[in-house]
Amino acid sequence: MIELQDVGVRFASRQVLDGVRLDVARGARLGIIGPAASGKSVLIKVIAGLVAPSSGRLIIDGTDVTGLTEERLAPVRARIGMLFQNYALYDFLTVEGNVGFPLVRRGEPADQVAQRVRDRLRAVGLAGSEHKLPSQLSGGMKKRVGIARATIAAPELVLYDEPTAGLDPVTTSKMYDLLRADHEQSGATAIAVSSDVAALIGFVDTVIFLYQGRAHYQGPAATVADAPDPVVRQFVRGALDGPLVG
């Protein structure tokens, strides 16, 4: 479904991503891990079309979408849902307005939007919060609203940028239970970036380890702690001694 061919991203003099290759099949769940500032969030934004690669190509369902204009990217993005690291909830809209926004923009009738918003909020455990503003929600609630918004339009691909950042361990477990249930039901492809490796590997099938802007390692999530690469092993185990730089 998603194919990245030698994708590089350069911001001014800094090479953030360098020759990243990736192939994600439909329905797969991929986790992106790596040290801070290794380009994880940039990579997920490249896949969403929010950051244009400086080199290489992004192919979605066989169509090269690299360098498309915002207008031509709109139908591609309509098939993608995204949970942002800092929630990115519209602070001028209520929870109901935020979750229903993608449907309203597609011109769906108001009564259908309201019904689907209620269903979606019930699914993420936020029934009754329709009229609250984002400023009235806790971090965990904001994440759940973000998940509801990312998935309300039944996207084929859902991107999660740090879905549990800043959440306590119990809320983190609940969040991943929610994502797991959601994906088992929808069958949508998922790509998740997270620094919480232990929690992430329970959700994804495969992980890719980004290191110094490159896809340093790719393998099954279940065995990543015993990966043959010493850098990956050190990172996943959180060991202080080892070859990991930075």
Partner: protein, 271 residues
């Protein structure tokens, strides 16, 4: 030698940065015009509900008191100083109101009102869009298939043009009224003599309205551009807000100069 090369490279990089910013500003303007067509020129386009009226309220109604008070005081100070200087040199104050009316209609009314709006409205637009940018709300709009310029800038652009024209007319009237009151109370100038519109011609009114239109278009474009360029966190929003106030005030002054020169060229000395 290395120092010289570094300096030249630095100047070159700065010049390139300025050129790139100017091009991006132009693209924001072009995108906004295209956005007006996308939202209002096509059947069945999904417009932000109530956004235009809301922005007219934010830009116009909420600026009303600020504009009335500031341009009122400016009118009073200007007329007081003019009367003071004329009374010391010429002694005849009968022409002050007549000349002031023409000046207000063709220049001071729209320009000073817009300068005030550039600070209040420009800062507001840049802070709002800038904070949406740094909190990824702009990216969330893009992920929902919404062009940020259409959703955020087009309503502000249209509302700003309409309300700047309305407030410029009101500002000019307040300035003129306050000036006449000052002339009467401080120097005893007869209001019938002061409030004389004999020298105001339709072309002065046309020039004043054209200026208000251009200022109203420039303020949200410059401010929105600054907001969309915000990076990082609150510091980036602060930078965007400052840049918006400086940039939109500068745009008003530069447009005033260009339009005044154009009018001089068109009508000769009588503008």
């Amino acid at each position: 030698m290395n120092y010289l090369v570094d300096r030249i490279a630095g100047v070159g990089a700065y010049a390139l940065g300025v050129l790139r910013a100017a091009f991006e500003l132009w693209m924001v303007f072009v995108g906004t015009i295209a956005g007006i067509w996308r939202l209002y020129g096509r059947r069945g386009a999904t417009r932000p509900p109530g956004a235009l009226v809301e922005q007219m309220h934010v830009i116009g109604n909420r600026s009303l008191l600020f504009i009335v008070v500031t341009v009122g005081f400016i009118g009073m100070v200007m007329i007081y100083q003019a009367c003071l200087q004329f009374s010391r040199s010429v002694g005849d104050l009968s022409q002050i109101g007549v000349q002031f009316a023409r000046l207000i209609v063709s220049d001071l009314g729209p320009t000073l009102t817009s300068m005030m709006l550039a600070t209040r409205v420009g800062a507001g637009i840049a802070a709002e869009i800038g904070s949406m940018k740094v909190t990824e709300q702009v990216d969330a709009l893009r992920m929902s298939g919404v062009l940020p310029i259409d959703y955020l800038l087009v309503p502000r652009f249209l509302a700003s043009i309409v309300m700047t024209m309305v407030l410029s007319i009101l500002g000019a009237a307040i300035m003129y009224g306050a000036g006449g009151l000052t002339a009467y109370l401080s120097f005893g100038v007869n209001p019938r003599v002061f409030y004389d519109l004999a020298m105001v011609e339709p072309r002065h009114l046309g020039l004043g309205l054209l200026k208000a239109f251009c200022y109203g278009a420039a303020i949200p474009i410059v401010s929105g551009f600054c907001g969309l360029r915000a990076r990082g966190s609150s510091e980036g929003v602060g930078w965007a807000t400052t840049a918006a106030v400086v940039g939109s005030s500068f745009a008003v002054i530069a447009l005033d100069f260009m339009l005044s020169v154009g009018a001089l060229w068109l009508f000769g000395g009588d503008v």
